[in-house]
């Protein structure tokens, strides 16, 4: 009996030791074995399979890479929970706004020095400059690195344009032409609105409208989406809003409140002839193959080509076990993984420019020349405007926009109410939320 008790006690002790060794080291690894670097994405199951396959080719005796099998849905909630529990993986997909906010709270590893003085080609010079600039915090930190660029433009149904006798949208077309086309395409053949532009009418609308004012030589809605000092709506901006209000009023543009959740399907079904959207829709169209002939044009302009700036990236929590190992995997993802993933699913051009070739090759192979041209034009655009504030009080701006800006677009409030809305945002900027 005594012997049995002794064996049981030893077994328990062994279990305790084993548990102690493994607890809290999801990303760690023992001192003698390789370090495990965990990765979490928001990609679809299919894309994750491709990423996993590409990560399997990562060779380093001291580093093991593990892609976490997590469903892509509710990524924001998942991220918030993991952040609060201090269980974030070593590398996780993040937006520019998350990177800015988390870095300002001291939650992320600062890669600024490493990417500035790195070895070989993996240096900041080889990234899209606007992305690198926007991923820096006010004090020059970089809590992550941009990985993929989001470019935006106008998806159009070429068949509908041809049937209506309209010229297809192309680089250099104007806002007035876009509204005129929308008016001619509206209320025909099962189509209700000529243009669905969620970017213009949703909570991000005021920022998108900056494209009009900046293109016309005016001021943007805000001087900086990351570290704003002011918001403004100058004459050119108000002119742009006035034109949009008129287009909504005459029924050619979908009003605020239009549910854009299914716009991609409606576009593919020929029920929406023009829609604002990102380049990532191309990957979906490549799979679904809409029956309509479609194209992707840069945003219209007044004088100068102006587009929206946005990028997503990969962040690392402060408590990552081995920063060097994590950076090696981060470098591998940015330089090699996209080459393996993008040919099958060309969702976005990499921010690391040498890796962009595979993206454009895939678009060419898929016979999407207008997408390739528009993405290239966007990436080289001289003037860009941010898509939304990345500050901690951005949500409050969203509420102010719903309460003040959207009623202006709907015609429930006059355009002359814009200054009052701007004053409220400046109040928020002043008090920092």
């Amino acid at each position: 009996m005594k012997r049995t008790m002794g064996v049981a006690a030893l077994a328990c002790a062994g279990l305790l030791v084993a548990t102690a060794c493994s607890s809290g080291s999801d990303s760690g690894g023992s001192s003698s074995g390789p370090v495990t670097v965990t990765v979490m994405t928001w990609e679809s199951a299919e894309t994750n399979v491709a990423i996993k396959k590409a990560l399997a080719d990562f060779k380093d005796d001291n580093v093991k890479v593990q892609l976490l099998d997590t469903p892509s849905g509710q990524y924001g909630d998942k991220l918030a929970s993991l952040t609060q529990a201090k269980k974030l993986p070593d590398l996780f997909w993040c937006g520019n706004d998350t990177e800015q906010q988390y870095t300002s709270q001291g939650l992320l590893v600062d890669w600024a020095d490493k990417i500035k003085n790195g070895d070989g080609d993996f240096k900041s010079d080889n990234f899209v400059p606007s992305a690198m600039e926007n991923w820096k915090t006010a004090d020059g930190q970089m809590g992550g690195l941009p990985s993929l660029m989001n470019t935006y433009g106008v998806w159009y149904n070429a068949d509908a344009f041809t049937a209506a006798g309209l010229t297809l949208p192309k680089a250099g077309w104007t806002w007035d032409e876009m509204y005129a086309d929308a008016a001619k395409l509206a209320n025909k053949n099962g189509v209700k609105y000529g243009l669905v532009a969620d970017n213009l009418t949703s909570g991000d609308g005021p920022f998108t409208m900056s494209m009009y004012s900046v293109s016309a030589g005016g001021a943007p809605f805000t001087d900086n989406v990351n570290h704003p000092t002011k918001a403004e709506a100058d004459d050119k901006y108000q002119e742009g809003v006035t034109k949009l209000v008129a287009a909504i009023k005459n029924g050619s543009v979908a009003p605020p409140g239009y549910d854009a959740a299914n716009v991609q399907s409606l576009f593919a079904a020929g029920k929406v002839p023009m829609t604002f959207g990102g380049q990532w829709l191309a990957a979906g169209f490549q799979t679904d193959k809409p029956k309509i002939k479609y194209g992707f044009a840069p945003f219209p302009q007044v004088q100068t080509p102006t587009t929206l700036y946005d990028s997503v990236g990969i962040c690392t929590p402060q408590y990552t076990k081995d920063q060097d190992a994590t950076f090696k995997v981060l470098q591998y993802i940015n330089t090699k993984v996209w080459d393996a993933v993008l040919p099958a699913s060309p969702v976005a051009p990499p921010a690391y420019t040498p890796a962009q070739t595979s993206y454009f090759d895939a678009l060419t192979k898929a016979q999407q020349p207008t997408v390739a041209d528009t993405v290239k034009a966007d990436l080289s655009a001289e003037k860009t405007v941010g898509v939304r504030f990345t500050t901690q009080w951005a949500q409050q701006v969203g509420d102010l926009t719903t309460a003040n800006y959207q009623p202006i677009l709907s015609g429930k409030k006059p355009v002359s109410d814009l200054p009052a809305y701007i004053d409220k945002i400046n109040g928020l900027i002043k008090q920092g939320g």
Partner: protein, 323 residues
Amino acid sequence: MTSSPERIVGTSPVKQRRSGRGGMSRNAGSDVKAAYLFIAPAIIGFLVFVGYPLVRSFYLALTKYNGLTDPVFIGLGNFRRLFTTDPAFWPALKATAYLVVLYVPLSLVLGLALAMFLNQRFAGVRVVRTLAYLPVVLPAVATITLWKFILDPQVGLLNTILDRLGLPTSLWLQSPNTSMPSVVLVMLWGVGGTMIIFLAALQSVPTELYEAARVDGAGSWAVFFRITLPMISPIVLLQVILQTTAALQTFNQPKILTNGGPGFSTNVLMLSIYGNGFPTLGRIPQLGYASAQVWVLFIIIIAVIALTAKFSSLWTYSDNTSD
């Protein structure tokens, strides 16, 4: 769950008081322990899942807390922001009130009407009762999503049918004027839950009362207003409280159908709380502020129930005659 003293000690109360220090036998003590053990899961559950969150949420309501860093005490700052500067708070209260005013009376009237219809004897009544209750047991998210497609103004089933019939169509969920009535329409899809309770109440009304009324020559309306309604009025009160509480906490329908829009037209308080506590990717949670909203909703619910209960004696029937 309490036992009488006689049952515990097997003797009279006088003798019981004289015996022992605590006035109870050793058996009584073990019974009390057993009683506490039996109710311990409920007490622990209440303390862990209700008591602690209640106290904690009140503390958080007085702080600036984003879930990423430690809470910072700001006193009544969150409540000041709620009532003075937040452009979304008053519209959220207005939307919640509008939903309650639309939904509660309609669900009661429809539920009662359906129950009265199904309280009759006709062939296939059981099948119809099952069909009427079926939406309650179907997965809510699936049915609400289905309704979203039905109410789509451009390609939805409802507008397609109306159009074919030459009737006017509507923007339904996509217009600030019709969005809340559309949400209520979808909520009324689950009126079978109200119906089933009314049906039970109707079946408990003594049939002699109806027979006596008929003998006295009462018509259908008189029977309904003078016998049925007074007799089921306690159940009506219960339903008013249940439906009002449920309506004040509505979340699923506006979240799935409209996400609070267009504008703030369907941004009910629960949705606003969720939006601040669990914002979209890239936004920082405002858990302290959301907790303050939770307390406002909590106080509103308590006040509404208290008022309903206080004035219920004016319109509910109670049999005060002694047996």
